[in-house]
């Protein structure tokens, strides 16, 4: 266990280092933040003045050492657009995204896994067909468009929920449904497919022959299908935490980490962008390690290095 932890930490550090370099490379080497922050008809003098005020006129290696030095001290500086410390905004925004992802993935598990079980065990053709169409639709509808449709129907026409922003529990409902749609399709699909495979295996025949109740048989099959379901589920959760909520957060004006990424990047706000990228990466590394530990609990074969 300790060895795994050390390995993970090392990999996290390497990742963070590469990420920081990538930000530098995109912003300072191939990007042109000076030109893009000025109007198209700016004169060369205006360009030079802006480059000087942002520090882009210095030699590249000097910009690099300064940048890496600041990041190593976790001092990202103040945001260009809000003047507030960049790390502070990240820390206030992240919990809101955690809330959205928590509710959304909770919905996904509560609806997705039972639906997958029903589809895997049903003998009725119409249930199978209906389930497959719903799964396919869930997989195909873009989250941000669904979000706008939900606003159209449930906020503007029916007036049940607010259109955007944060506040009470009512503000959480529509964005978390929009967020859950893609993961829901994938969770239903993987539960259905793996459970159906498990139910074909010889140990299930043995269990039935021993006279176990159908509920007990299903329990055994589910435990073995669990690893595949958990893989898909945790992958989706980590993606959401990695900023993929940006579209839904933009649609609902939800001030989480996703909309912070969009703001930082569209405003060419370099300190804020670096802070967000490093913070998101840390969350992803920690989440990946937690998933690794969870696997070892779920499937003893992995812990013994057999798989």
């Amino acid at each position: 266990m300790l060895q795994v932890f050390v390995k993970r930490t090392f990999r996290g550090l390497v990742l963070a280092f590469v990420a920081v370099n990538l930000v530098f490379f995109v912003v300072h080497v191939i990007g042109d933040p000076v030109g893009r922050s000025l109007p198209l008809d700016a004169t060369p003098e205006q360009y030079a003045a802006r480059a000087e005020s942002l520090g882009f006129d210095r030699p590249l290696w000097e910009q690099y050492t300064d940048y890496v030095g600041d990041v190593a001290r976790l001092d990202f500086g103040d945001s260009i657009s809000t003047q507030a410390p960049a790390m502070g905004s990240v820390l206030t925004r992240f919990p809101r995204t955690f809330l959205l992802v928590g509710v959304g993935m909770g919905l996904t598990a509560l609806i997705g896994i039972p639906t997958g079980v029903i589809l895997a065990t049903t003998k009725r053709r119409w249930v199978d067909r209906l389930g497959n169409s719903l799964t396919l639709t869930a997989l195909s509808v873009p989250q941000f468009w669904l979000g706008i449709l939900l606003i159209l129907v449930f906020s503007l026409k029916l007036g049940w929920f607010p259109t955007s922003g944060i506040g009470g529990w009512k503000h959480v409902v529509l964005p978390s449904i929009a967020l859950a749609i893609g993961p829901l399709g994938k969770t239903i699909q993987i539960t259905q497919v793996t459970l159906r495979d498990e139910l074909q295996k010889p140990y299930i025949r043995t269990a039935r022959a021993k006279g176990l109740s159908e509920g007990r048989v299903l329990y055994h099959a589910l435990r073995n299908a669990g690893v595949a379901v958990a893989t898909v589920f945790s992958h989706e959760t980590i993606l959401a935490l990695a900023g993929y909520t940006v579209l839904v957060e933009t649609v609902f004006a939800w001030p989480g980490i996703g909309s912070l990424i969009a703001e930082a990047i569209s405003n060419l706000d370099i300190p804020l962008t670096s802070a967000v990228v490093v913070a998101v990466l840390l969350v992803v590394v920690v989440a990946n390690s937690l998933v690794d530990i969870m696997y070892r609990r779920l499937d003893p074969r992995i812990a013994r290095g057999l798989k």
Binding site: R11, L15, L156, G243
Partner: protein
Amino acid sequence: MASAILGLMIFAAVFGPTLVPDAGRITLRDRLIEPVGFGGTWKHPLGTDGLGRDILAGIVAGARVSLAVGFGAAIVAALIGVPLGLIAGYRGGRIDRAIGWLVDFQLAFPALLTVLMIAAYVQAGIVPLILTIGVVSWILFARFARAFALSARESDYVAAAQLAGSSTFKILRRHLLPNMLSPFLLLMLLQVSGAVLGEAGLSFLGLGITRPETSWGLMIADGREFLRTAWWVVVLPGAALSITILALHEISRTSGGAIGILESEA
């Protein structure tokens, strides 16, 4: 059914802009006209947006952008992923470990951040979108090609080619590539749908396609301010996007095999 939808979209992408021109023409007098059946006329079958642009022409022009980015990015991803995966699986050993490390790395690093940053700091447009979305989505191809090469390495036809003295490159190109074609095409369709969604999302955020060009994501973004009065401006381009994705998923699902690939992934 699904193939018919995809065929229609490809037809619209190729010939549509000639049949339904003037996607970007602004006619303020004709703003926010309803679609046919909701009070509109056949002059604008799907209505117009807030600047009087024809929605049908926009959807047709958007199909060209979406499918160009979708197929383009999937081809870029395949060009990177398939050779790396084949070499990793066929040669094994140190090369396999090095490529495996690259895959792990790309998996742990959120692709979205790279794409967003490049879109904002470098430049938007169809070609940059194809390159950035393609470069960050090679993993699935690499893992698929590696799994295929691993199993093919033990097969009789590869052994025969080795005995005949063929070089590694020739074995990979002449014997492995043609044999993996059909599952590869299914994987390709899934990747196309991912890239189409990516382009729509980026354009929606204002970081992808920009005016005067048109994209479904951009049309949805522009229509948001008229949501209360003119639903069609947002709903119709989104519907075009959804059924395109749906068709791509359905084809790769019903052709079988695709689920097998994804399972070997898990």
